[in-house]
Symmetry: C3
Subunit: 211 residues, 3 copies
């Protein structure tokens, strides 16, 4: 297993765990755990592969990824009650997955297209898409809409990886500093509430008042 593959499996595993935690918050049954775990775990990478035209997508070629998702779902099913706050755990695991997938997505995008801009965007999208799907399907408020920094952490990780690669850093070094940067930014956001100042002027009125 190459370091990048290891990163990919790690990202799938922690995102799968966040999907299962969302299932436990909604008190779904065991199959619901497995389904949300799989959708969240493989959602980002599936999207990345579709965009890049790398089909059949990664988990069709290596079903081991699905086994990882099911195993994480089972693990969470039997241990989630031990956790004081499942939502905080979900956010932290999501941060690890975000960091891993930002770099994986950027690496795959850079390898296939050679374009730094494209690589940064595939990194961002891979990192955020699984969590977006999870929140949509589970009816959780979207991580995208949270006040603290989220997408920017993925942007940081993908950007650092691409910059390091362009400066000639070996793949494993560029990956490592990319993952650490993304996790540091997102971790600081969760722990200390780091946020850009939001857009101020005024919130939107309901469409009924406007039309």
């Amino acid at each position: 297993m190459t370091p990048l593959e290891g990163l990919d499996y790690a990202g799938v595993a922690v995102f799968a765990a966040t999907g299962a935690l969302a299932a436990s918050r909604k008190q779904l049954d065991m199959i619901g755990f497995g389904f949300l775990a799989a959708v969240t775990g493989i959602g980002g990478g599936t999207f990345r592969d579709l965009i890049l035209g790398e089909t059949p997508v990664f988990w069709v070629q290596k079903p081991a990824y699905l086994v990882v998702c099911v195993a994480m779902a089972a693990l969470v099913y039997f241990t989630a009650h031990l956790v004081e706050s499942r939502y905080r755990l979900l956010l932290w695991l999501d941060a690890i997955g975000l960091a891993a997938f930002a770099v994986m997505g950027a690496a795959k995008g850079l390898a296939l297209t050679g374009s730094p801009i494209t690589a940064i965007v595939t990194g961002m999208m891979t990192a955020t898409f699984g969590g977006i799907l999870r929140d949509l399907l589970a009816g959780e408020p979207s991580v995208l809409m949270r006040p603290e920094i989220y997408v920017s952490a993925a942007l940081t990780g993908a950007g650092v990886f691409v910059a390091a690669s362009l400066f000639g850093a070996p793949l494993v070094v560029a990956s490592a500093i990319g993952v650490v940067s993304a996790f540091a930014v997102r971790g600081g956001a969760i722990r200390f509430g780091w946020a850009f100042s939001p857009y101020r002027p005024r919130p939107g009125r309901p469409p009924e008042d406007v039309m």
Copy 2:
């Protein structure tokens, strides 16, 4: 038309009808009926084909599928008021579509990859994706979040089909017992409220209380 094609058209038609029923519940106009019917009818198979790299997707190659969706939308538009409970009808038609697509998705996945695990997952995803899309777009509560068995019925149908195929059953036999199994499980769930015991410990708190 092969038996599998017949199954595919049947699945598209009943899912299209569930989309049109959702449109009638939301009192959309005639075009809204057609749109939701098409998205629901071809959504699952579109996703299956994208994942497997079978592009252009099936309905681009055979627009007859779209004609089926539009015809079902028109049929529902003119008859839905005769039905006592459109939501119950929607659930039963959804059950038929789920059974048909679980087998179709598994058959296509097995034929293209040879992997039983992948085939089961493409079966599950094909069977559930159209309904998920329909509920997201129409603002209905997601079938995924309902207490009775749903995804498991797709899992059963795909699993039975794959097992029967591995044991050498002819395609038409494996398909038939797959469809019947899935429909029996989902039908029992609708009729008798079959459910796995849900995850108990405690429901999730709202994110605001946790952070």
Copy 3:
């Protein structure tokens, strides 16, 4: 740049602006503006390319589209407070984007498949998918569920373009009358509330009352 490319850039730019306006209504930060702008701007075309098997998708091959999205996000970020009603502006820009993408999607579908039905459907889906994504992610009520005409405008534009092409009109003429038709229909709907009579019999009851 060909006229069709110009149309595509225009569609991406105005849809990106609607995404950024939705971000401003939700008071996201600057990165949230860029993310929603990009998802909305390139969502419809991404979907079109995936369906048609045109991968890697258009913006992977030409990252200039992403630059356009980011530029529109910045423009909206610094000017949205000047607008009296951002939601009305969003609807009008959405109408321009809808018209541009209905024709673009139909043109690409017709060129690749030769099927008029498929071309009309890829036109409709390209035109509506970005807005659907924007509303799902931003938690806005979906444009699809609005009472006035929406999908029908895309259908009109795609249909007029395809009909004109079949009658031998040059590409630029067919495109122009397609765009104008779609915009006229949607603009009339916004300005005068044009609507088909909705489906009447009765609204859906909540699932809990039915089961």
